[in-house]
Symmetry: C2
Subunit: 331 residues, 2 copies
């Protein structure tokens, strides 16, 4: 039985070439591994080239993938994943209202731990407190994950910390800087490069699902005037345009081990030590604007629940679940 027309065969060819990217894979190998005729392999390679994959062909050596489309494609991301669960159920969309809303619906429908929704742009993307999140087509990453950790709801904020840490690891790996701004932002040279919006579905005793929304500015070269002074992108920070499927996969690969450490006290303690290294405001005088109140003091630490410990001028400490942190203006 020869497979030629089943859906997924072309994805399998793409995945195989991605797995061995940069190396030649012989037509015979592909043909054997996927149970395809040599002619079918050739047809799929032609179709992949049509779809934007750059595939060299050399006599006696076979096919070599050297580049792939920048548009998000599930088989491309899948071919670049090294994860156990994260991104293994992957929903890729061109445009959506909100990947967090999509992930929420998937979670309610029983989506497994690690399910990911990736979109090129969102028409109703939101940050904390309903703020708009700007997303330019073809430039960024809008991703939401469904996580099902065995934790009490009070430990949920750990996953914001962990997500920031995963983003930091990826950015440092690209030789960008990464300053963490508690609780939801990742900055680069003082400008925002990524944001996190964590949502919770839970009973009082157990988390049913966490929805981790992540927005990353990847290839933007400029921003609208109102955010131009406060936003940056990976491309601006590194001087290199990024391949977005690769970035998404690298982020998923970085997040899984970080998330795995969150449920245990000891595991989260190691994350927190690394988080503190990147936390730009530690020891600084800051203002924290909560929903209904405002505090000023020195940012002393982040605790085992991911909360900011702020030392007020009175010497008293307050522990904050969330808030907007700004460096206190000079007097």
């Amino acid at each position: 039985m020869e497979k030629t027309a089943e859906p997924g065969t072309r994805d399998a060819v793409a995945a195989l070439l991605l797995e061995r990217r940069g190396d030649y894979v012989s037509g015979g190998d592909i043909s054997r591994r996927l149970n395809l005729s040599r002619a079918a392999v050739w047809k799929h390679v032609a179709a992949l080239r049509e779809a934007g994959f750059a595939i060299d062909a050399a006599t006696n050596r076979g096919y070599r993938l050297t580049a792939w489309p920048d548009a998000y494609m599930a088989p491309v991301i899948a071919g670049l994943l090294t994860t156990r669960d994260l991104g293994r159920h992957l929903h890729v969309k061109g445009e959506t209202v909100s990947t967090n809303a999509d992930a929420h619906a998937l979670a309610r429908a029983g989506a497994l731990h690690g399910t990911a929704v990736i979109a090129d742009t969102q028409t109703g993307g939101r940050g904390r407190r309903g703020r708009a999140w700007f997303s330019e087509p073809g430039m960024g990453l809008c991703m939401s994950l469904v996580l099902r950790p065995p934790i009490e709801p009070s430990l949920a904020p750990r996953y914001t910390i962990a997500t920031a840490l995963g983003l930091r690891r990826v950015l440092l790996g690209l030789d960008a800087s990464a300053e963490l701004k508690w609780p939801n932002d990742v900055l680069c040279g003082g400008k925002k490069i990524a944001g996190i919006l964590l949502e919770l579905i839970a009973t009082m005793e157990a988390v049913d699902a966490l929805i981790v929304g992540i927005g990353v500015n990847i290839n933007q070269e400029s921003f609208p005037a109102d955010i131009a002074n406060i936003a940056t992108s990976v491309a601006l920070a590194t001087g290199c345009e990024q391949e977005r499927n690769g970035f998404a996969a690298a982020l998923l690969n970085a997040l899984e081990p970080v998330y795995d450490l969150c449920p245990s006290e000891a595991g989260f303690a190691t994350l927190l030590a690394e988080y503190r290294e990147g936390l730009s405001t530690l020891g600084e005088q800051v203002q924290v604007a909560g929903v209904n109140e405002r505090y000023e003091g020195v940012a002393r630490d982040v605790d085992a629940q991911g909360r900011l410990i702020l030392e007020l001028e009175s010497g008293e400490s307050v522990t904050l679940h969330s808030g907007d942190v700004t460096l206190r203006p000079e007097k």
Copy 2:
């Protein structure tokens, strides 16, 4: 313009008779209030009788409603409500998988504060930790509410406390006893009469929606063997069969003022004082089984976040979000 056939006119007649239940309302009054001909009024009354409403008619006095169907009906409950928001958007179902799941879906679709789902029975009803919740057709109340209080997620457990308190007020009003068992159960003579399952949809800083699931045993005369010793019903506790639409409306009427007090510290403090009066385990030696651990000690108090404060034998205190409380067996 005369209304006769519009949907809702019969409900309006029912609501008017319910509002003035026990008293005669003249046909002329109904006709004027609802802009109907006398003949149309008569037709709606006939249809309501057909549907199980007991309506007397007396010459020169008009119509008097003396009884109504026991099956849950939105216009009947609506006619008995005195609330501002609670139950004002009401979804009544004969059977559903889970009213909490229905309410969750409504919440995600933007349902307003106070939206209620009421079902006669659930096929997949669940208590805490996925335990089955038994519901016999025609006997109980399965209700879930969508609440949108302006609170941080950490205050959500207050709404379990408040719900227990609302149930207690209704039961005391029917001359039943009501012992509150922190956190989720209401007992009567040591047997469970109602249970609460609170679910949360939230970001780290604000609650998007609370889903309050409430199961009440109302008219059961007996229970399956495995729960016969630990379950009771309002009918068994009071010796009187209850009209279930009336019970549902009374509960909604009782819950609204209680929920209104939850967001503020002072408001919740007054609720807590009343809750302590009904808390059967206060000052008792108890065992509390958490998801992963077990504690023994004296139940000392419930705090401003609705958590149980347990004094261990070591003298140390622990604060528990949730758990199964049992009186500690005699040694």
